[in-house]
Symmetry: C2
């Protein structure tokens, strides 16, 4: 941490008090045009940059926002993080970034650190089972936005995608295109958001078309290899399976490769629908039919809601749930 010019350095050069420089730098008004020009010249000459540490100590605004993801290598995450980072910059805030690795302990460490650094607020993709932990920070006055989950708590907002409906759309699409023996490869991580996707999936079978059989469900790790394992399990139960809905696109890819390796053709023998529409999905062969999430929209809403919370900490915002859309490609 190098030392640059200070308010006093600028003041000494111009021959005014630090208070006057502060007024000009923050454009508070109450100074003459001559003073303004001379101060700004000195600021330029000395390369003065205000020290946010000193400013934050007084104003209780550090100009920083925490972004806590699960794992940056999740292909769903980077586009969201990029959007959040851009939106934050436009409001003059810088992003602290950290991963919780889906682990409650690690998330606790991360929040301790963010608290120490006096962040103005945090956007978090919560580790499973950490809502109480988060609510604790919200109670202590930290503005918090939970992404990808539906939570109601004072000083804590939540924004998420309507993936219950996404699962309905996926299953209905499989049924509408003539599939009758359908399986879902779900996630073995048991949190409300995984359960919602399963609920939507089953909901589509409440008034099934003629000939549709009861759907199958397996739960595996939400990874490529998990998806492959899930497909194997489903085929053991039911070798004549003709449609798959996977919890996410990575699992769908795994299932697709495993099906092809077992001699099934996609989509001729088995149709596959994923979820998330990650960048890779359009580039696969065959292209993956999936549920598209408007990630730029979620990024923008998350930052917007967080800023509202920062300005008005007592408000009790209602959870925001964004619509999703089926994208049909060659895998169905």
């Amino acid at each position: 941490m190098p030392r640059g010019a200070t308010l006093r350095d600028v003041a000494d050069r111009v021959g005014v008090s630090p208070r006057t420089v502060s007024r000009v730098v923050n454009d508070e008004g109450g100074f003459s045009e001559v003073t303004r020009v001379r101060v700004l010249e000195a600021v330029e000459d000395l390369g003065y940059q205000p020290n946010m540490l000193a400013r934050g100590l007084i104003t209780h605004r550090s100009g920083t926002v925490g972004l806590v993801g699960v794992d940056m290598t999740d292909p769903f995450f980077p586009a969201m993080a990029e959007g959040i980072q851009n939106a934050a910059r436009e409001t003059g805030r810088t992003i602290f970034f950290a991963s919780n690795d889906g682990d409650s302990q690690r998330q606790a460490e991360v929040f301790r650190s963010l608290w120490s650094h006096a962040v103005d607020g945090v956007i978090v993709f919560p580790a499973p089972g950490t809502i109480d932990q988060l609510a604790g920070y919200a109670r202590r006055g930290m503005p918090l936005v939970v992404v990808d989950d539906i939570v109601e708590f004072p000083n804590l907002a939540s924004v998420s995608f309507d993936l219950e409906d996404g699962a309905v759309q996926a299953a209905q699409h499989l049924l509408a295109t003539g599939r009758r023996r359908i399986g879902m490869i779900g996630s073995e991580i048991t949190v409300p958001r995984t359960r919602r996707r399963e609920r939507g999936f089953y909901q589509a079978f409440e008034s099934p078309p003629v000939g549709a059989e009861l759907p199958e469900l397996v739960r595996v790790q939400p990874t490529v290899s998990g998806g492959a394992a899930g497909l194997q399990k489903l085929l053991e139960r039911r070798p004549d399976l003709d449609g798959i809905f996977a919890y996410n696109d990575l699992m769908a890819v795994g299932a697709m490769r495993a099906a092809q390796a077992s001699g099934y053709r996609v989509p001729d023998d088995i149709a596959i629908v994923g979820c998330n529409d990650i960048e890779m999905s359009a580039l696969l062969n065959p292209g993956l039919t999936t549920i598209r999430l408007d990630r730029p929209r979620l990024s923008a809403e998350a930052i917007r809601v967080l800023h509202e919370l920062i300005e008005e900490p007592t408000s009790n915002p209602t959870p925001l749930v964004l619509p999703v859309e089926l994208v049909i490609r060659e895998s169905t």
Copy 2:
């Protein structure tokens, strides 16, 4: 930015001076066991967390490190960022994250902000043409590590991959597997690192096998659609092309899809080699032969070198260039 318990709150509760609490919290020694226990109890009870803003103001160590990427949605980046973030956490530092979008102006904004927040150092994937900008910050005392480029400057280290050799390996592999009419799809962004890859590519043709023709080169945007356009351009020049080396995997995917769309079989008619080994490359059909970069290694080295620079700001580190490896899959 909420207000938590302060050193004084803890001191008042125990009945000692803030100075004593400071000693215990920082484990400086010079206190009795009784005092230690009572202070730590009070710290626990009050949920005291040191304010890094106040501490940083005095110590000139903020406990933060900047990570400046080009664009988080570049599939090469997230695994690196995750590694850097984990390594930083182990040394008790938190990451400020920002993208420069490959733009010099934006990078300048980002650095102004990082300077204001008094980062202890920065790891940067530089925007094209910004070495002078970065050298300026290094000169002002900011420890800096440049990734993916070779730079020599006081107080500034650089770590990168030997992609000149990677290009040699790629071209030699194409030649060794019998390809004779080979093209390279290069990047239109003109910086030393793109030129190095082209140099390596040509180097492999300095003593070519019998029948090998002079290679072709086109330069396009380093994206999927750029790769597709690049392949079209190469085929216009030379419809009997039988081997391609692409600047990165995204371009290789674009070239692969474009070749297939034009009726060429991969690898039967045209073999394709990419570069970077992003996660997607193993999941394509056919799987992409490419140059693997040891990203965890680079992350670890970047943080290690940065910490050395933070401890010893005057040292003049030699650029670190890491070896790379060809990964053969079905596209060749």
